[in-house]
C-alpha cells in the first residue's frame, strides 16, 4: 500500500478538492485554524476520548468556526457539494443544546444561511418529546430525526451532506433525515453549545471533525 495519504484519498491523477481533518488533540484548541466566540469556555478535556469540551455560559452561544470577524470569514466549502463529519456528544444533561455539525456562511453575530445537525437536551420546561435530534437549515423547515431519546447523551458519528438539491443528515451510518434545497453561499464549519435558561451551562464534547468538497 502506498505511504501517500493523498493517493489513498483521491482517485489516481485527480486534483483533490478542499478537505481537512481535525482530531481535537493537544494542550489547547488550534487557534490558528479556529476562531472562538461567546463567553463560555473551550478547552481540551482531560479524559479518555474526551476531545474538545465546549461549555456555554448559562445564556448564549459558545462557538468555534473559521471566522475571526465578519470581514475575515474563511469559507472554502461548497453550500451545494460538501460533507461534514463529526464525532460528538451532548454532555450536560440539563439545559443543553449542542449544534455540533454545522456548515454556515455567516459570522457569529449574523443571521445567514446554514445547515446543522442539532442535539437538544433536557431543556427546562420542555416535555420529553422535545428532547431530540434535529436537522435544521435556513432553507427548509426543521426535520426531527428518528433516534431514541435514550441516545441523546451518547457519543455519535454525525454526517451532514450538502447536495445540489437536498441536504442529508446521517447518524452512526444511518440516513436519518433528508431536507430540501442546498445553500447557495460558500460555507465554513462550526460547532457550538448554547443555553437560554439562565440557570445552567450547556456542555458538549467533540473529538473528530472532517470536511470536504464533493
Amino acid at each position: 500500500m502506498t505511504d501517500s495519504i493523498y493517493d489513498q484519498l483521491n482517485a489516481y491523477g485527480t486534483v483533490a478538492k478542499q478537505r481537512f481533518v481535525e482530531t481535537f488533540s493537544g494542550d489547547a484548541l488550534d487557534t490558528d485554524r479556529w476562531s472562538t466566540h461567546g463567553s463560555g469556555t473551550i478547552a481540551m478535556d482531560d479524559s479518555i476520548d474526551g476531545g474538545l469540551k465546549i461549555t456555554s455560559a448559562t445564556t448564549g452561544v459558545t462557538r468555534i468556526d473559521f471566522a475571526p470577524s465578519d470581514a475575515l470569514k474563511k469559507r472554502p466549502f461548497s453550500g451545494s457539494g460538501s460533507v461534514m463529519i463529526t464525532v460528538a456528544k451532548l454532555t450536560q444533561v440539563l439545559y443543553g443544546i449542542m449544534t455540533h455539525t454545522t456548515l454556515q456562511d455567516m459570522y457569529y453575530t449574523e443571521a445567514g444561511d446554514y445547515a446543522s445537525i442539532v442535539t437538544y437536551g433536557d431543556l427546562n420546561g420542555l416535555s420529553s418529546s422535545q428532547k431530540k435530534f434535529t436537522l435544521r437549515s435556513s432553507e427548509f423547515t426543521n426535520i426531527d430525526l428518528t433516534i431514541a431519546e435514550s441516545e441523546l447523551y451518547n457519543w455519535h458519528t454525525y454526517k451532514l451532506e450538502l447536495k445540489s438539491a437536498s441536504t442529508e443528515a446521517s447518524v452512526d451510518g444511518v440516513l436519518e433525515g433528508t431536507g430540501g434545497a442546498s445553500i447557495v453561499a460558500n460555507v465554513q464549519p462550526a460547532c457550538e453549545t448554547s443555553a437560554s435558561e439562565g440557570s445552567a451551562n450547556s456542555v458538549g464534547n467533540i473529538r473528530y471533525m472532517e470536511c470536504y468538497n464533493t
Binding site: 505511504d3 493517493d7 485527480t14 478538492k17 478542499q18 481537512f20 490558528d32 485554524r33 475571526p68 472554502p76
Partner: protein
C-alpha cells in the same frame, strides 16, 4: 519498520498555522474565502522583485535522497507578460538556490522540474503541462540518483543532474515578481490547498 517523518497540511482554517515560517516583501499570505480556495500567496506591490516565501525555518526533516512531496497548486506567473517572475514549490535545503521544485517561470511555456545544488548549478526539465493558471496535482519524488516530477498522476520530468547534495530538506514556497512588463498591476499568485511530505 518504524514510521518515518510524515506531514500533512490541509490549508483550511482562519489563518496559516504558526509552524510555517513566512516572509513577505510587497506580498500577502491569506486563507482564501473561496470554495476550494486553500491558501493564497500573492504579491500586492508592483515593485521590482516583490516576493513571498514559506518554509519550516530551516528545520530540515526530509531526505534529499528518499522523500516525497505532494501538493495541489494553481500558479499564475503571468507567463507571457513579465520578466523574471518565478514560483518554486517543493522541498529544499535553502530558499531559492538549493532544492528540488516545481518551477513556474515567466517566458516558460510549461511547468518545469528544477533541481539546484546552488544558484550556479541549476537544471530544469520541461514537462508537457502548460504554465498557466489551473489546478494541478504535483508529486516530487526524491531518490538516491534522481528526482521525478509527476503532474496529475503522469510522470512528467526526471532530473539526475543538479541534485541537492546538502543533507536535509524542508517544504519550500518561493515566489518573486520581477519587472512588470505588460502585466500591469496583475499579481503573481500561488494557490495551495494540500501539501503532504514524507520520507520513504
Amino acid at each position: 519498520m518504524a514510521y518515518k517523518q510524515h506531514f500533512i497540511e490541509w490549508f483550511s482554517g482562519k489563518q496559516l498555522p504558526s509552524y510555517w515560517s513566512t516572509t513577505v516583501g510587497g506580498a500577502s499570505i491569506i486563507m482564501n474565502d473561496v470554495v476550494d480556495g486553500g491558501l493564497k500567496l500573492y504579491t500586492t506591490s508592483t515593485g521590482t522583485n516583490s516576493n513571498f516565501t514559506m518554509n519550516f525555518n530551516n528545520k530540515r526533516q526530509y531526505s534529499h535522497t528518499g522523500s516525497v512531496c505532494q501538493f495541489t497548486i494553481n500558479a499564475d506567473v503571468q507567463q507571457a507578460s513579465t520578466t523574471n517572475w518565478f514560483l518554486q514549490v517543493g522541498l529544499g535545503h535553502t530558499v531559492g538556490n538549493t532544492g528540488h521544485w516545481l518551477s513556474a517561470k515567466s517566458a516558460q511555456s510549461y511547468f518545469r522540474l528544477q533541481t539546484s545544488q546552488s544558484e550556479s548549478a541549476t537544471y530544469s526539465a520541461d514537462t508537457t503541462v502548460a504554465n498557466s493558471p489551473a489546478w494541478v496535482s504535483a508529486k516530487i519524488e526524491n531518490k538516491s540518483g534522481s528526482c521525478e516530477l509527476s503532474l496529475n498522476g503522469v510522470l512528467s520530468a526526471t532530473n539526475d543532474s543538479g541534485l541537492q547534495t546538502s543533507t536535509g530538506m524542508q517544504p519550500n514556497v518561493y515566489g518573486n515578481r520581477g519587472t512588470s512588463g505588460s502585466a500591469g498591476s496583475n499579481p503573481l499568485v500561488c494557490l495551495l490547498r494540500y501539501m503532504e511530505v514524507y520520507n520513504t
